[in-house]
Every structure is written in structure tokens, then in C-alpha cells.
């Protein structure tokens, strides 16, 4: 079964939110925030953290393209089948390889998209990173494996290169998954998971398969441990599917999820929920502290979310063409109101809960 798109990308539908300035304007509009709201910058200052300082970069996260076979309702990348131009080129991927090789502190290369596998240079790039003996994470949407015969052998390719697979599956039932990700996504996702299990993913220790849960609405994720137990029980019982860990990620109020919040009149309440759930214990573990996020066109950001808001790093080194690790390791993270998403409750990152 193929995937039926739920919606168009913001840019394809001419939505004002495709403009990142407009998104930032919304996030900072006082009238749209609850009366008791404290700005993120002031909130962290109240707990004795005037700035978020970084540690030496450990995770090199690359968005190698916004092209995707799905158009998910919550997507912060605004990815979709129409994003054919926004693809990282081979010369830029080569530049990234030089950086990954040169910077000893980088132990993990985290590849994301869109559907990163749709970049024509994906397999070449993975093979080259493998030669550098760095850990590789690929954020695979699962359905790409079933989308076209040319992708059917991806599970074997991932296994050969010991790629750690991290895949979104919002729920263990079709109705809630398809509502967020498109009709037919659940069925194809389960089929892809079974293909991954068949080569050992989710079963043997060195073929890691983690799933990502993000709430399918304007609420926070519950306990990661509890949800993981339920996902494991249900996926095994219903589909004989196994995986290693469930990573819970909070939806940040940007891009398509911001559009959903505004359209459904949930924006003010959601910002209040995030701000009320602020947990200072999450600040030490924030992913922006040890990550550099690289966009398809080579620009550098503190995290994937800042990338989508076009908030480049506070450094003279803002592009892979002048990557200066010493300078970058001195920078302070650019923060804004969306940052409450990573500090709410047990915290949130590309690796799941923080505390």
C-alpha cells in the first residue's frame, strides 16, 4: 500500500508560516502568550543559567535534504515530495566528511531529512562515514523502505554498515499514526519494521532499532519508560515486531505543528503547558550543548529546530566552508520561546527524554 499525503508543505500551500521570520514573530507575540508567561531567556536566568554554553561538539547532525515521501502534519522540517531542490550536494557532503574526520570529539554522525535515503548520494556518504569509524544514526521514516523497489534492500545496507536506525512511529495503531503521518503509513511502517527485524534490527545488540514517539496533538509525552513498555507489548502481540528503545520527543511549536496549534486554537494553552512544565534539571543535558546541526545547504545551527527557524549559530563560523571547531566550541546557544519544548517535563531531545 502506498502513502496518501495528509497535507501539502507550508511552502507549497502558500502558508505565511513558511516564512521563518513570521514564525518567530508569532512565538514572540505577547498577546498570544498566557498572561503569566515568562520568556525562556528570563526563565533560565531565574534558575541561575543566564546562557546555554556548549561543550566540545560530539554529534554532527546533517539534514541532507527536505525531500520526503511523506507530508506529516507535525513536521518541523516542512519536508515533502515537493522539496526536490533542497538536497545536500556531493561536494558539500565531501566537506562534511573532512570535518567529521578532522574533529576527534565528533563520535556520532546523525543523518536526517526529509527522507535522507532519497538523497542520491546517501549510500555513498554512509559508506564513507563508516570508513571513519564513527557511529552513524539514520533517521528513517520506515515507509521509504516500502515506497519503491530500489529501497527494498535498505535493511541489508543499514546492517552492513552498522547504522543505528531511529524511526518515528507515533502510535501502535493505524488510526492515530495515519492521522499524523498520512493514510497507509502505519501499514507500510509495520511492514518495514518486520523487514528490519528480519535482518536482526531490534533484536541483536549491534543492530540498534529505536522508535520515536511524539504526541499526536497538543499535549506532552508521558513517561518514556511506561510508553516503551506499552509499545513493546502491543507491537509484539499484534505484529511480532521488536525494537530496542522508545524515544519520547515533545512537539516544538514551530513550522507545521505551530500551524496546527494556531488553526485549532491550541497555541496559547500549549505554550502555557510547556512553560508550566519547565524543568531546570533538563538544562545540563540539552542536545544543543554537544550538537552541531548542518542544513542541506551547509549552514550551521545549534539544533534541528533552530535550523528550521533559520537561527544560525552565534559564531563567525556559520557554514561548513569555514568550519572552525575552536570558535564553535566557545559559542552560546541561540534561544527563543520554542526552547521550552526541550525543557518541559522530563525534557526532550533527538535522543528522547533528558532526565
Amino acid at each position: 500500500m502506498g502513502v496518501k499525503q495528509r497535507s501539502k508543505s507550508l511552502s507549497a500551500s502558500g502558508n505565511q508560516l513558511a516564512n521563518t521570520f513570521f514564525q518567530l514573530e508569532i512565538l514572540n507575540k505577547k498577546e498570544l502568550l498566557p498572561t503569566s508567561y515568562v520568556k525562556f531567556k528570563d526563565k533560565i536566568a531565574q534558575v541561575g543559567v543566564p546562557n546555554i554554553d556548549v561543550v566540545p561538539v560530539e554529534i554532527f547532525q546533517l539534514n541532507i535534504g527536505k525531500l520526503c515521501n511523506q507530508t506529516c502534519a507535525h513536521c518541523h522540517v516542512d519536508a515533502g515530495p515537493d522539496k526536490k531542490e533542497e538536497q545536500m550536494t556531493k561536494p558539500d557532503l565531501e566537506r562534511c566528511l573532512l570535518i567529521i574526520k578532522a574533529v576527534d570529539s565528533i563520535h556520532t554522525v546523525d543523518i536526517t531529512g526529509g527522507a535522507p535515503e532519497m538523497n542520491v548520494n546517501f549510500r555513498w556518504f554512509v559508506t564513507e562515514v563508516r570508513k571513519l569509524n564513527k557511529k552513524i544514526i539514520n533517521r528513517c521514516n520506515l515507509t521509504i523502505i516500502r515506497s519503491n523497489p530500489k529501497y527494498y534492500d535498505l535493511p541489508e545496507f543499514f546492517a552492513e554498515n552498522k547504522v543505528h536506525i531511529v524511526s518515528s512511529l507515533p502510535y501502535f495503531s493505524a488510526s492515530r499514526t495515519d492521522k499524523q503521518r498520512g493514510d497507509g503509513v502505519f501499514e507500510d511502517s509495520i511492514s518495514a519494521l518486520q523487514m528490519l527485524n528480519k535482518v536482526g534490527y531490534g533484536i541483536v545488540d549491534n543492530l540498534k532499532l529505536d522508535l520515536v514517539y511524539n504526541p499526536s496533538g497538543a499535549f506532552l509525552p508521558g513517561s518514556q519508560c511506561s510508553l516503551e513498555n506499552e509499545f513493546k507489548r502491543q507491537l509484539l502481540r499484534r505484529y511480532d515486531v521488536k525494537f530496542h528503545n522508545l524515544l519520547c520527543i515533545t512537539n516544538l511549536p514551530i513550522s507545521r505543528f505551530l500551524d496546527y496549534l494556531i488553526e485549532t486554537d491550541n497555541y496559547t494553552d500549549y505554550m502555557e503547558t510547556l512553560a508550566n512544565a519547565f524543568n531546570p534539571a533538563t538544562l545540563d543535558g540539552l542536545m544543543c550543548k554537544n550538537t552541531i546541526s548542518v542544513s542541506w545547504d551547509g549552514n550551521l545551527y545549534d539544533c534541528d529546530f533552530n535550523q528550521m527557524l533559520n537561527l544560525k549559530v552565534a559564531s563567525n563560523s556559520q557554514h561548513i566552508s569555514n568550519f572552525d571547531v575552536q570558535q564553535l566550541n566557545q559559542r552560546k546557544v541561540i534561544i527563543n520561546e520554542h526552547c521550552y519544548g526541550c525543557t518541559a517535563g522530563a525534557g526532550s531531545s533527538c535522543g528522547g527524554e533528558l532526565v
Binding site: G222, S226, L227, F231
Partner: protein, 112 residues
């Protein structure tokens, strides 16, 4: 300002009930917190589903909002949540009907 008995904003003020009786209020919140905290003999999800069902029987709009959100957060789906409401409704309806026995007993005693 429009006067109304139930204002959704009042839910956030629930903690203020300690204002007039601090010791009892604090004990209540400690106990309440412990009841719902973590996966114990019941999972957090199961406890939220029970709370949602009870919220319907006591017809508390604040509790219905709060535990609908809690059920979603804890990973319950809409089908499970509606089933929980049916369980509550079945018990409430069944209990009403069960009193029919008392009515029947009394009617039979009174009638020739």
C-alpha cells in the same frame, strides 16, 4: 464579566485549596501525588483511565479535561478512553437498576 459556575481557568487554581486549611490540603496533595505517581501495581495509564471513568461518574468537568489530557499523555487511545467511560456508565446504570430490586421488594410487600 459573565458569571459561571465552571471556569476552565479554575483548574490551575486547584492547588490554592490549601489556603484555608494548609495541613489537610498538603496531606491531600501528597497522597494524591503518590496515588498517580509512576507505574506501580497499576501503570500510570491504567490509573488515568480509572480516573477518567470516575470523573464521568462524579461529573466533574475539571477532572474530565485533566484526565482526558493525562490519558493521551500516558499513551491511551480514544477507543480505550471511550471504553472506560462505558465501564463507568454501565456501573452507574447497573447500580440504578439494582435499586429496582428494592423497589420490587417494597412493592411486593405492599401489594396484596
Amino acid at each position: 464579566m459573565e458569571k459561571k459556575y465552571f471556569d476552565p481557568k479554575d483548574l490551575a487554581k486547584f492547588g490554592e485549596i490549601t489556603k484555608y486549611q494548609k495541613d489537610m490540603g498538603t496531606k491531600f496533595f501528597d497522597w494524591y501525588g503518590e496515588v498517580f505517581s509512576g507505574d506501580t501495581a497499576l501503570t500510570e495509564r491504567e490509573k488515568s483511565l480509572i480516573a477518567l471513568a470516575v470523573a464521568h461518574t462524579v461529573q466533574c468537568p475539571y477532572c474530565i479535561d485533566a484526565y482526558t489530557t493525562a490519558c493521551l499523555e500516558k499513551g491511551a487511545d480514544e477507543e480505550q478512553m471511550m471504553e472506560a467511560v462505558h465501564v463507568a456508565a454501565a456501573i452507574k446504570g447497573g447500580a440504578t437498576l439494582a435499586f429496582g430490586i428494592q423497589m420490587m421488594n417494597h412493592a411486593e410487600k405492599m401489594n396484596m
